[in-house]
């Protein structure tokens, strides 16, 4: 009998084994009621109440409705409900194995190509995606790189059959790489060229190139019809009507100032992506309404002299300065490492933010920056039910256990390649 049981378990586990058999969830049919949980709203506050999910939308109620048979009830007493985490500024789905070129699709040739659209290469079947969902990352902004103006990004939700299903906010950001405005270091071998060029001078020339491009685009777009269509200019339309933001990838003060000047010149909505030194100019960023997507709080200090915990506390410094900010993991392994976004936020909470401010950085703030806050980013009535339940503090790996997650009300499968391989080898070694 015991033997039969083991075989049965084995069959079951093999039955769900390969990730290839995991599938996106069907649209929500039953109303879901989550009771008893602490609600982390995502706007910096915590409350009690009941979360009702109907037709993919949230209703936050002070008291629980009568639970009927047609409802699915989740008793989350002692647990926590959070908005789904949003991962901005990532090449998720555009890369599978970062060091293997044939699996990378995020860096296009050429200098200026806002017409390049990340979404068309976004691979919903990347093995990485499910590992992120398991830790509560439910949405992501898929960003192309390469060249001065790498292209246009799309926000996706992470439970989809194909990229058209995945698109959550299509083509709503244009990205720019700010040339580095700093001299070459005197102590680090420079990888690509040995020439003694002046990178600041060259960088300013590159910025002038970008400026000229936008001037031409602006002039072009002033006219409705064209004998010859220019795809690159057309792709900038949303920048000029402010339906899209310009995301400028840069870190140093001078680069950020150049980005601000640039955006002001064209009246673009500006987001700084990177922002290692943003803590130095918080007031300027706030006054210019510039948002920041901070790169990895888990980074080394910028210089030997910087405080050992500077990247940890940059978030708190921006918060104090009144700057709208989120965080991202955009280093070369960032796409896989984004499952640590809640812990990166947790570190910011250890270094000056409250836990709910830190949560806000990866939820509502990210939604605001990406222009999707009307639909998601917080536990508020009317928003999409992109939420999750954790039995412990989501920001602390010591206790974070995501037990449920919903995207647009669909209860998603929290398994992934890793949980499946874990199961496979628990079986091999008879680990309970």
């Amino acid at each position: 009998m015991k033997k039969i049981f083991i075989i049965a378990v084995g069959l079951v586990s093999f039955g769900v084994f390969a990730q290839e058999t995991m599938h996106p969830s069907p649209a929500q049919s039953k109303t879901i009621v989550i009771t008893g949980a602490t609600l982390h709203v995502g706007n910096g506050t915590v409350r009690t109440g009941t979360v009702v999910i109907e037709k993919g939308k949230l209703k936050i109620e002070a008291t629980a409705p009568t639970i009927t048979a047609s409802m699915e009830h989740i008793d989350a007493t002692g647990k926590h409900v959070y908005p789904g985490i949003i991962a901005p500024n990532t090449n998720l789905g555009l890369v599978e194995v970062s060091s293997t070129k044939s699996t990378t699709d995020f860096e296009e040739l050429g200098e200026i190509h806002p017409n390049i659209r990340s979404i068309v290469a976004y691979n919903t079947d990347s093995k990485v995606i499910n590992t992120l969902r398991t830790n509560g990352v439910l949405l992501a902004q898929i960003v192309p790189q390469g060249g001065l103006i790498p292209g246009t990004s799309t926000v996706v939700q992470l439970d989809a059959w194909n990229w058209e299903d995945a698109a959550y906010a299509m083509d709503n950001g244009v990205h720019m790489t700010m040339p580095a405005l700093i001299n070459r270091p005197n102590n680090v071998g420079f990888r690509r060229r040995e020439v003694e060029s002046d990178p600041v001078k060259l960088g300013l020339e590159r910025i002038a190139t970008a400026r000229n491009f936008f001037k031409e685009a602006q002039a072009y777009l002033n006219e409705k019809t064209h004998a010859e269509v220019n795809l690159k200019y057309e792709a900038c339309k949303g920048l000029f009507d402010r339906s899209k933001s310009l995301y400028v990838n840069c870190d140093l003060v001078k680069e950020m100032l150049a980005a601000i000047q640039f955006a002001n010149e064209f009246k673009f909505k500006l987001v700084i992506a990177g922002g290692a030194d943003s803590w130095m100019i918080g007031d300027i960023l706030r006054e210019n309404n510039v948002a920041v997507i901070l790169s990895e709080p888990h980074s080394l200090p910028a210089t030997d002299d910087d405080a050992v915990d500077q990247p940890y506390k940059t978030g708190a410094m921006l918060q104090k300065a009144g700057v709208l900010f989120s965080i991202c993991q955009d280093a070369s392994d960032g796409y896989t490492q984004q499952r640590n976004l809640p812990f990166q936020a947790g570190t910011m909470a250890a270094y000056g933010l409250t836990q709910d401010q830190a949560l806000q950085a990866i939820t509502l703030n990210a939604a605001k920056i990406l222009g999707i806050d009307a639909r998601t980013g917080s536990l508020e009535t009317g928003k999409d039910a992109n939420i999750l339940i954790s039995s412990g503090d989501l920001l602390d790996m010591k206790s974070s256990q995501v037990t449920h997650a919903f995207i647009q009300g669909r209860a998603i499968d929290l398994a992934n390649k890793h949980t499946q391989l874990f199961d496979r080898y628990k079986y091999k070694y008879s680990i309970k």
Binding site: T100, S197, L300, A302, V308, M397, H418
Partner: protein
């Protein structure tokens, strides 16, 4: 003979100087004109050596040598007498570190994507390695380069020890004078010295491509040379090794580029009974006590860092305080050596512009070097170092007539070198200074009388013509010719121009007045200028920053010391059977944990209130690459078991301090993973502030790094020509290496000691232990079987991301595992990496650690361990052990570290929170009972750093304003050592900036 004009004439001849010593073997193309070169220099202040000055004395030279020196000695009839008019005569300077007369050396290249160059391109019966150029005899390629000689003579030099500055073993140096003569005559000593460095120079060969490889090559070279003495038939004639043996008795001079390399060089010397003379880098003052302990003599450069333009504060932000401090303190280097009583010579080497030598030396004197030491360092000391004291270095009968004549004490600011005599021939420098024309003259221009007042020194005279008005005049003097020019008020901008000759005290000539009339003029000196006795530069009472240990922003004036510490009422994670103790105390004394329990007392202890805090053993990182310099990968060969991280520890790596702030107290520094058998590793304790030796974990079992898979087969290098290219080949590299090691071990006495095979034999004899970088199950199993075959155990599999697939096999073999918590998918061989890996291996019964292999992540290893709690439900205590006790066990040091137990080392962390929590911060990190990181102290260090940096930035800006030359501000970014050649996990700002530089092509 008293006529000045005659003296000019003499000088004039000397300028053209026909050799006084013709080479008798050479045929003549003229009639013979023998010369005696007989001169008597009278009325001179003769500085015979740094301690002896003869006033109003006579120097007699003949045939290029000194015949006599003294006061009141008879003048030979047939000598040309030169009246020095109280000028000073010094021995000409000696530069013991020169490449004068050497052909320029090309820089070597290394490109790992290019096909490998496994052996030397040098043709002939020489060494296998192109960086070993021991056979080079500089004397045989020396050519007189008078343009360079001229620059050196101008600074007072007469003799140099010169060699070809190329390679790790550079061959012999030769002593030559700076005379403009045929090479035969200036070459004083053919084989004067043997030269070494850690820089492979023009070698294009792959090996060595790291600093540790350079050290290893040198070490092996010593052994090979010793072996070669037995005339091994298999080696044939090896002129490089032969030369090395022949040069053993010469002064051994070792050039370094950093204070730590000075210690490295000395240590290699100690291993083989050689005391090197160290050609220093200029930052040795930062560790002067350690320099003294080498017992070496030093050759010091005076090439101080150029100031930077720091007007832009965002540029200045990226210039480190360490760099600014060095800029300020570099001129104190020589003074520090003097104060410490370390013998040293001075060199022009390293100066871009040799004419900066005397100005820079004067700066050193202002900042603490005595003039006497400075002179010794240019004369007697280098003469002694290069074994030339019998010929140069002081003025004594029989020595070479190498001396200089100066207008005053040589190091005084306004002193000018009039002539530099080398081998009895004069080389005029500021010949005009023979005659100090400064003074007051009566001047008659035509019939009009004026006064002429001349101030300053030769080359920089200022003149005033005083009549009704006082008019500034232009004066220029060349030898005995003089020109004056002036414009009087009445001449409305038109200029009067006078030309003439000057003889002692009397000038005369002709000129053209502003109106065009020609006129004769004459000036007679009425009084000489009073010589200015305050011409020496006053020692500046300059505010200087302190030397701190380590020499960076987070160093202190004193190194933290072991204390008696009592931590009270904390939650103590013992990692022992007693588990987690609530409200418990830990007493630390003399670097050890002496008691753990409740209610402990010690009146002498510094009491730390641990209420609400957690105390754990210090974190141990099994796999790291911080704290090492000069490259962490010696990639040139698939087996480099001879290279040692121990040789390249960098005690000033700020990452150690950063990791102390994350609770790391010990770290295993590994060779990278670019080849199958990498280098020997080094376990460190982060005793922040100590030297390399002070950081090393004492008495630990030696380890070595192995690697398998993609990195060693260079999967991302499409032109790889280095065997192996597949995992099949990797297994054969291993099998071959141990087969060779077995055969080697069987060889009898007299064999060539091969450091590569010695290390492998140690593995076979279970005296050295492997930590093996590995990923996929096939290669793991293959490694196990190779080890089984040769009868040793693979101590540790590191990374081991597919370890969970073969945990049972590894367990059966007896291996430990050290892995990442959640890295995956960045390359093909980590596709199946899972966060449950550690847990599964542990459940199967292995000893498992979580390591960093990453300077950033090492700061959060406790939290990385906590991920196993999250992903697998591992117990919290087990998780913590993965970064403390378990790595201690796998490194064979669990008897001393890894848990909180009486008698163990006091390596402790006081955490603000539960040690596995994301909110936990180390408040104090203690190593051997010394508080090496303290969050409160850190805040103070940061505040001090800000003040010190601002002081220095302002000082540099002021220097620029004061006329100092500057270069554009260049940032200093830290280069993180990367395990792999190819893949960069990219967590430093420089990674991000350089990536953007590539993308946007600036």
């Amino acid at each position: 003979m008293r006529s000045t004009f005659l003296r000019w004439l003499v000088c004039f001849f000397m300028g053209l100087s026909l050799p006084i010593m013709a080479q008798v073997t050479y045929p003549l193309n003229d009639v013979a004109s023998p010369k005696s070169g007989y001169y008597a220099f009278i009325h001179a202040n003769i500085v015979k050596d740094a301690k002896t000055t003869l006033r109003n004395a006579v120097l007699i030279i003949k045939q290029g040598k000194i015949e006599a020196i003294g006061q009141n000695i008879p003048l030979p009839q047939d000598a040309i007498v030169v009246d020095c008019q109280n000028k000073f005569i010094y021995p000409s300077f000696i530069d013991a570190y020169s490449d004068y007369g050497s052909a320029p050396v090309q820089a070597g290249t290394f490109n790992y994507r290019a096909p490998s160059q496994m052996i030397s391109n040098t043709k002939g019966p020489y060494a296998w390695n192109q960086a070993l150029k021991t056979e080079v005899s500089f004397a045989k390629q020396f050519v007189v380069q008078d343009a360079k000689a001229k620059d050196l003579r101008k600074m007072g030099f007469g003799t140099v020890l010169s060699h070809q500055m190329d390679g790790i073993s550079r061959g012999t140096g030769a002593v030559v004078t700076l005379a403009k003569e045929k090479e035969n005559l200036v070459l004083l000593k053919e084989r004067a010295s043997a030269h070494y460095s850690l820089d492979k120079g023009s070698s294009t060969q792959d090996y060595p491509n790291s600093l540790m490889g350079s050290v290893a090559l040198l070490r092996q070279n010593f052994l090979d040379a010793a072996w070669y003495k037995s005339k091994p038939a298999k080696e044939g004639m090896n002129l490089t090794l032969q030369s090395f043996n022949e040069q053993a008795s010469l002064p051994q001079i070792f050039e370094v580029t950093d204070k730590w390399s000075a210690l490295r060089a000395d240590k290699i010397g100690d291993e083989f009974g050689v005391q090197y003379i160290i050609k220093a880098s200029g930052n040795e003052y930062q560790r002067i006590d350690d320099m003294k302990a080498t017992k070496a003599s030093f050759i010091l450069p005076v090439n101080y860092p150029q100031a930077m333009d720091l007007e832009d504060p965002t540029d200045a932000r990226f210039v480190t305080v360490a760099e600014l401090k060095h800029w300020e303190l570099a001129p104190t280097n020589a003074g520090a050596f003097e104060k410490a009583g370390i013998p040293f010579a001075l060199t022009t080497n390293g100066l871009k512009d040799v004419s900066q030598f005397l100005p820079n030396l004067r700066k050193a004197i202002q900042m603490g070097l005595s003039e006497q030491k400075a002179l010794e360092a240019l004369t007697s000391v280098p003469a002694g170092l290069i074994g030339m004291s019998d010929q140069v270095g002081s003025l004594e009968p029989g020595k070479l007539a190498n001396f200089l004549i100066s207008t005053g004490p040589i190091f005084a600011e306004k002193t000018q070198i009039v002539e530099n005599w080398i081998q009895g021939n004069a080389y005029g420098q500021v010949s005009e200074a023979w005659n100090d024309v400064a003074g007051k003259y009566s001047l008659n221009i035509g019939k009009d009388p004026f006064s002429l007042k001349i101030t300053g020194e030769a080359g920089a005279y200022k003149a005033q013509i005083i009549g009704k008005d006082t008019i500034a005049a232009e004066i220029s003097q060349k030898e005995s010719l003089v020109n004056l020019g002036y414009t009087s008020k009445a001449d409305k901008g038109k200029k009067t121009r006078l030309t003439g000759t000057l003889q002692e005290g009397k000038w005369e000539g002709t000129g053209q007045l502003a109106n065009g009339d020609w006129v004769s003029w004459q000036a007679v000196r009425e009084s000489k200028a009073v010589s200015d006795s305050s011409r020496r530069m006053p020692a500046k009472a300059e505010e200087l920053g302190a030397v701190v240990f380590p020499f960076n922003g987070y160093g202190q004036k004193t190194i933290p010391k072991s204390e008696t510490i009592l931590i009270k009422n904390a939650t103590v994670w013992t990692n022992e059977k007693s588990g987690v103790l609530q409200g418990s105390d830990v007493l630390v004394k003399q670097g050890k944990i002496v008691q753990v329990g409740k209610g402990l007392k010690d009146a002498s202890a510094r009491v730390i209130d641990g209420t609400g805090k957690h105390v754990t053993a210090g974190i141990i990182d099994e796999h790291s690459h911080v704290g090492a310099t000069g490259g962490i990968n010696e990639c040139s060969q698939s087996v480099t078991a001879e290279v040692r991280v121990a040789d390249v520890v960098d005690p000033e790596d700020v990452d150690m301090y950063r990791q102390l702030s994350g609770g790391v107290t010990s770290s295993h520094i590994l060779h990278g993973s670019c080849n199958t058998i990498g280098g020997q590793t080094q376990l460190l304790k982060f005793r922040w502030g100590q030297t390399a030796e002070g950081l090393k974990f004492a008495n630990w079992d030696p380890f070595i790094k192995f690697a398998l898979g993609e990195n060693v087969k260079r999967s991302y290098n499409t032109t790889n020509a280095r065997f192996p290219d597949t995992r099949m080949g990797v297994e054969q590299v291993l099998t071959d290496a141990f087969t060779r090691a077995q055969d080697y071990a069987k060889q009898g006495p007299g064999k060539r000691i091969d450091l590569e095979l010695e290390a492998l034999v140690e593995i076979l004899q279970h005296k050295r232990f492997i930590t093996c970088h590995s990923y996929v199950q096939s290669e793991i199993t293959a490694m196990l079987r190779v080890a089984d075959k040769f009868g040793f155990t693979v101590n540790t599999f590191t990374h081991i991301l597919e370890g969970y697939k073969v945990a049972d096999k590894m367990k059966a073999h007896g291996a430990n595992a050290s892995t990442f918590s959640d890295w995956w998918n960045y390359k093909m061989e980590v596709l199946d990496a899972i966060p449950a890996n550690a847990y599964i291996m542990q459940k199967v019964g292995m000893n498992v650690a979580i390591n960093s292999d990453d300077a950033e992540m090492a700061r959060r290893l406790n939290q990385e361990a906590a991920k196993s709690v999250k992903y697998t439900g591992m117990s919290e205590e087990d998780a913590l052990k993965m970064v403390t006790l378990n790595p201690a066990k796998m490194l064979h040091v669990a008897d001393r570290v890894g848990s909180i137990k009486e008698g163990k080392d006091a390596d402790l962390v006081i955490w603000s929170d539960h040690p596995l929590s994301i909110y936990a911060k180390s408040e104090k990190t203690i190593v051997d009972g010394a508080v090496v990181f303290d969050r409160e102290l850190d805040a103070k260090l940061q505040a001090d750093l800000k003040v010190e940096k601002q002081r220095l930035v302002q000082k540099m800006i002021a220097a620029k304003k004061g006329g100092a030359s500057t270069r554009p501000a260049a940032p200093s970014f830290k280069a993180e050592n990367m395990c792999e050649e190819d893949h960069n996990h990219g967590k430093s700002l420089w990674d991000r900036i350089s990536h953007r530089m590539i993308i946007t092509e600036n």
